[in-house]
């Protein structure tokens, strides 16, 4: 350790420093007011409007809209798709983060960039590529038709498109976290005789659990809310290939605004729960990092 932390001397004139590096009170207030006003207009107002419109025709109409068979089947399909796409991307995310963060190899940065690719692709194109692969005129289309397997305009295509769109979430969350943590703890466990899996479960997982949860939450939110990609590969058949976001669109286009917003409010609640969990996880993560730093500090002092 070459850097020496110097406690900042007590300033004789804290006010003066504050004035020099801070803004005058009226500027502070104006900036805060403009920022909060902007956020209220762009983010909070649309949020409030969803619930206002959802209950525009009363609570019983609201309950009818979300208990209607088509809405329920859309909800089931949304859950089904997320329950397939998220675990697949969990395995991929952990595997990718493991090889990238724990080993050195050539082409690593290319691999990281490739993982990010789905984020750079428009949702519409993300859906379209599966039509080009499995659609009637696609690469595998004729073969699938001969064997009577339907992927496009059916549930498998929607699962594929959702999996593609949500692929980077967990890997992206884990890679920087695990890179920061290094390999020392795992190496110690292995040297002491632990097996590979044992090391992963007992050493790595406890260290990354909050980051992993964070990635899972974001991945799930996107899987349940994806619209563009799923829209391209869905047959838009009510009760069959409609997810909740697609159901919102259908109702809205039929001018059933209250019902559309009622279903939308369910998705909005999901988003709010996601945000709450995310905030909680971030807070735990920061606290865990703080404890870690406290625990590391004495060791580092000895090492120095």
């Amino acid at each position: 350790m070459t850097t020496i932390a110097v406690a900042r001397p007590a300033t004789t004139a804290p006010r003066a420093i504050e004035r020099a590096t801070g803004e005058a009170r009226w500027i502070r207030w104006t900036l805060t007011a403009v920022a909060l006003g902007f956020l209220a207009l762009t983010l909070v107002l649309p949020l409030i409007l969803v619930f206002h419109e959802a209950f525009a025709k009363g609570i019983s109409a609201y309950l009818d809209a979300i208990r209607e068979p088509d809405a329920l089947s859309a909800a089931r399909l949304t859950l089904l798709i997320a329950s397939i796409a998220v675990p697949i991307n969990l395995i991929f995310g952990v595997a990718a983060a493991w090889c990238i963060s724990k080993f050195e190899f050539r082409g690593k940065y290319l691999l990281i960039t490739l993982i990010d690719l789905p984020f750079a692709v428009s949702p519409v194109i993300s859906g379209m590529i599966f039509v080009l692969l499995f659609g009637m005129h696609g690469w595998f289309g004729p073969w699938l038709f001969d064997h009577d397997i339907k992927i496009i305009f059916a549930v498998p295509g929607m699962v594929l498109a959702t999996t593609f769109v949500t692929a980077p979430f967990i890997a992206r969350e884990l890679i920087p976290l695990m890179q920061e943590q290094g390999t020392e703890e795992e190496e110690a466990a292995i040297v002491l005789g632990a097996g590979g899996w044992q090391t992963f479960w007992r050493v790595t997982l406890p260290n990354i659990k909050w980051g992993l949860l964070y990635g899972l939450i974001l991945c799930n939110a996107r899987a349940m809310g994806e619209f563009g990609a799923v829209s391209v590969v869905s047959g838009h058949i009510r009760g069959e290939t409609n997810t909740l976001p697609l159901h919102v669109e259908i109702l809205y286009n039929e001018y059933a605004f209250a019902a559309s917003f009622a279903v939308a409010s369910v998705l909005t609640l999901l988003a709010l729960v996601t945000l709450a969990l995310k905030t909680l996880v971030e807070w735990r993560q920061r606290r865990a990092a703080g404890e870690q730093a406290d625990a590391d500090a004495p060791l580092e002092r000895i090492a120095a």
């Binding site: 595997a95 984020f119 590979g196």
Partner: protein, 278 residues
């Protein structure tokens, strides 16, 4: 790919195998279809498709609105990040959490909500209508939706950099006689400029591909308010696969160029920060 140094840790082969197989089958193979499909077209018909007047108009709408939205987000995103990092006010944590709303809210929900808000009888639209400003079903509406979608990208890129900024430098500037505004433009802004640029690029990249939040508010008039992603869908629905892939290829190249630019910028920023530390 070869490991350059031996490690005692197990699982390299398996994890790299899973990663590469998955990326190849799930990401690269599907994306490759766009290139092979376009290769079926002759150069003339490809060029004819991607420079068709209606397609050119949709580029103008998409890139124009995305640019304006990303610029607005750069200004307000910096302001929001600054206020969140530097000032203390009641409810700050709640405000900080709500910034991520566009990441969590399904785009279709954002789309119908913004459309209702800015329609001529909507909560906001009715106050703009008397001034002759129509938002929903116009170019302005598309921009409003893209501002909603892109805001967190700028805030979340700039915020950590502002957080790490040492106040010492600002104190030094102040003690050397710099005015507050001078300190901001000469000391703070250059330091956060790479992050700000990255945030702008991320917001812009997201905006050009955005579909769900825009398609409701845009009105979808060909030549006027038709965005590129919608045009691709329209071509697909007409079974014009060749046309759809040709336009998609143009968008894909634009997106990849942006992604490359963003990665290069972050790499350069890391190197600069790393260089300063040694």
């Amino acid at each position: 790919m070869r490991r350059s140094s031996r490690s005692v840790l197990p699982g390299f082969g398996v994890s790299l195998g899973i990663t590469c197989t998955y990326l190849s089958l799930m990401v690269l193979l599907p994306l490759a279809t766009i290139f092979t499909r376009t290769a079926d077209l002759s150069w003339d018909s490809f060029w004819g498709t991607v420079t068709n007047p209606r397609v050119l108009a949709s580029y103008r709408v998409t890139f124009g609105a995305s640019l304006v939205a990303a610029l607005v987000n750069t200004v307000f995103g910096l302001l929001v990040a600054w206020v969140l990092v530097r000032y203390r006010f009641p409810g700050r944590r709640l405000v900080d959490a709500i910034v991520d709303l566009p990441f969590a809210l399904p785009t279709a929900v954002a789309g119908i909500s913004l459309t209702t808000l800015y329609a001529s009888n909507g909560w906001v639209g009715r106050y703009l209508e008397p001034f002759g400003l129509k938002v929903a079903y116009t170019w302005v509406g598309i921009t409003v939706a893209l501002i909603f979608i892109g805001l967190p990208f700028v805030v979340r890129t700039v915020q950590p950099v502002l957080d790490d900024l040492e106040v010492d430098v600002e104190e030094a500037a102040a003690s050397l006689g710099a005015r507050r505004w001078q300190t901001f433009t000469r000391v703070v802004l250059p330091t956060i400029a790479p992050a700000l640029l990255t945030g702008f690029a991320l917001a812009f990249a997201r905006a050009i591909g955005e579909y769900g939040s825009v398609v409701f508010i845009s009105g979808n008039m060909p030549m006027k308010t038709e965005i590129v992603p919608l045009l691709i869908i329209t071509k697909l629905e007409q079974y014009d696969y060749a046309g759809a892939t040709a336009v998609a290829l143009v968008m894909l190249v634009a997106s990849f160029a942006l992604l490359l630019g963003i990665n290069l910028m972050q790499w350069a920023a890391r190197r600069r920060v790393g260089g300063a530390g040694v």
